[in-house]
Subunit: 292 residues, 2 copies
């Protein structure tokens, strides 16, 4: 492909307690995506296991491993090099007494460019992440890969305009969001999928960047009941229009192709980044700016 041309894939799959099988199936999706011409392949959040954060269990801290010697990262580094794809890989990171929901960014030559640690940590029925994860301390980052400058947030980060904007201000052309979201054990009927998509479509529209989200599928049962993850992985163009979208329950790959250089020119000509007013944005740095 020419300079700036890129094909992005998002994948989705169910996960069991057979970690080797989860990893093998994730690898198979990456291989299929590469075969379809994908240059960047997005796997979902914490795909090596079920979404263990559904409940609070001390033993699950044993799932965490250090960034530097994580066997799964070494494995996917080989896969990325073999296939020539950019491959962010979500993992549970142990760092001495701190634990993070982290993402390693692997470039097409297998180099692990760095890691991002999830900044915004949710807490609610079925999503007990504050029990497991320190709030990330890496800040929002971007990486220059073989196929463009990419930024990544992890799941709950995807609701935060500040996270998307910070990556766009660092020149990200594509924002990637690995995710695990579905219904809640106590509220099976609530469906946030459209709300979830609209928040990220908004980031794409306001920053004029490509956005891709990869979400888990399947029903997982734990001590607190069952949860069904709603898939609906999608890719948007720089206006926030969905150009590829997966179903709620099929293991699959979706792809979309972009000319990042053409998008960059359209972004500049629209002038959103020309007309910003940081002198007026101080309120964004507060938790409570009002009198009430």
């Amino acid at each position: 492909m020419g300079a700036g041309k890129v094909t992005v894939a998002a994948t989705q799959m169910p996960c069991s307690w057979d970690t080797d099988d989860n990893i093998a199936r994730a690898e198979a999706l990456v291989r299929s995506a590469a075969k379809e011409g994908a240059n960047i392949v997005l796997l979902q959040e914490l795909f090596a296991t079920p979404y263990f954060c559904a409940e609070q269990k001390q033993e699950f801290f044993a799932l965490a491993q250090p960034f530097d010697k994580h066997p799964m990262l070494a494995h996917f580094s080989s896969v990325a090099r073999e296939l020539g794809v950019v491959l962010p890989v979500s993992f549970f990171e142990r760092a001495n007494n701190a634990y993070f929901n982290a993402l390693a960014i692997i470039d097409t030559d297998g180099t692990i460019l760095g890691k991002y640690r999830k900044s915004h940590i949710p807490d609610g029925g079925g999503y007990e992440e504050k029990f497991y994860f320190n709030p990330g301390n890496t800040g929002f980052q971007v990486w220059d890969t073989e196929f463009g400058r990419i930024g990544a947030g992890i799941c709950w980060d995807q609701w935060y305009p500040e996270c998307a904007r910070a990556m766009a201000l660092q020149g990200a052309d594509i924002l990637l969001y690995p995710t695990a979201i579905g219904n809640e054990p106590a509220n099976h009927s609530h469906d946030s999928s459209a709300h979830w998509q609209r928040a990220m479509q908004g980031h794409a529209a306001s920053n004029m960047v490509v956005v891709a989200a990869s979400n888990r599928i399947g029903t997982e049962t734990s001590g607190v009941g069952s949860m069904t993850f709603y898939g609906s992985s999608f890719v948007t163009d720089e206006t926030g229009a969905k150009v590829a979208e997966a179903s709620r329950d099929e293991e699959c790959i979706i792809t979309a192709s972009f000319d990042l250089e053409a998008i960059r020119l359209r972004r500049a000509a629209w002038g959103f980044f020309r007309d910003r007013r940081p002198d007026l944005y101080g309120t964004v740095m507060t938790l409570d700016a009002g009198a009430a």
Copy 2:
């Protein structure tokens, strides 16, 4: 209606060089909206005239008038008091040698609570606003009205996540955006209406607030050619779903009703504002955060 219950109306109409007629038709829309039960009525941007910013003309500065003695504001203050509606009114403001694209916020008793000056000023073919307007210096504000705490941005502001977030952080329950947007004299085929809606739907979704936008309709011809404004005024719920939407070309009123107290509880339980990380948002205060 009970505490926290509110009906929001957005209106749209074409504008001519007959200012008295424009004002009379805007007033008629406000009266109809009040009759339909609206508590807050949103009129479009700069409805007293055609969108004069299509071209750069010295004589158009004569359209500006001071905030304190603007006859149109006095007039709509009476209308708001008579009908018991909250009424933001867009006007071209002269302040000594400075000129602003401004909005007066009128409460149900006719009190003018204050004014907001448009912060983000666009510049492009058919949208020559940097020729006319100083970038606003009021900052993003909210007002406690009889029907809830409202925030307002003006047109180009609607693309900026920082503006929406700053108002939500000040406790806004509803964000209002008077607008004038359509195609461009040099590019009649480009249609940004879906992009435009998605950016604001994203603000609603990420902040869990109600959003209403009121946009101009009609074709206006100036020295640079003709422009057709695309209407499509809309109101969203707190998930960003459009719950009311106008056509592209009809003069009309749309309304939607909300229970702001119920939305406030849902917003709190979702936890977006609990999990924010201002310690990581410094990048948002920059114009260029990257190495490239």
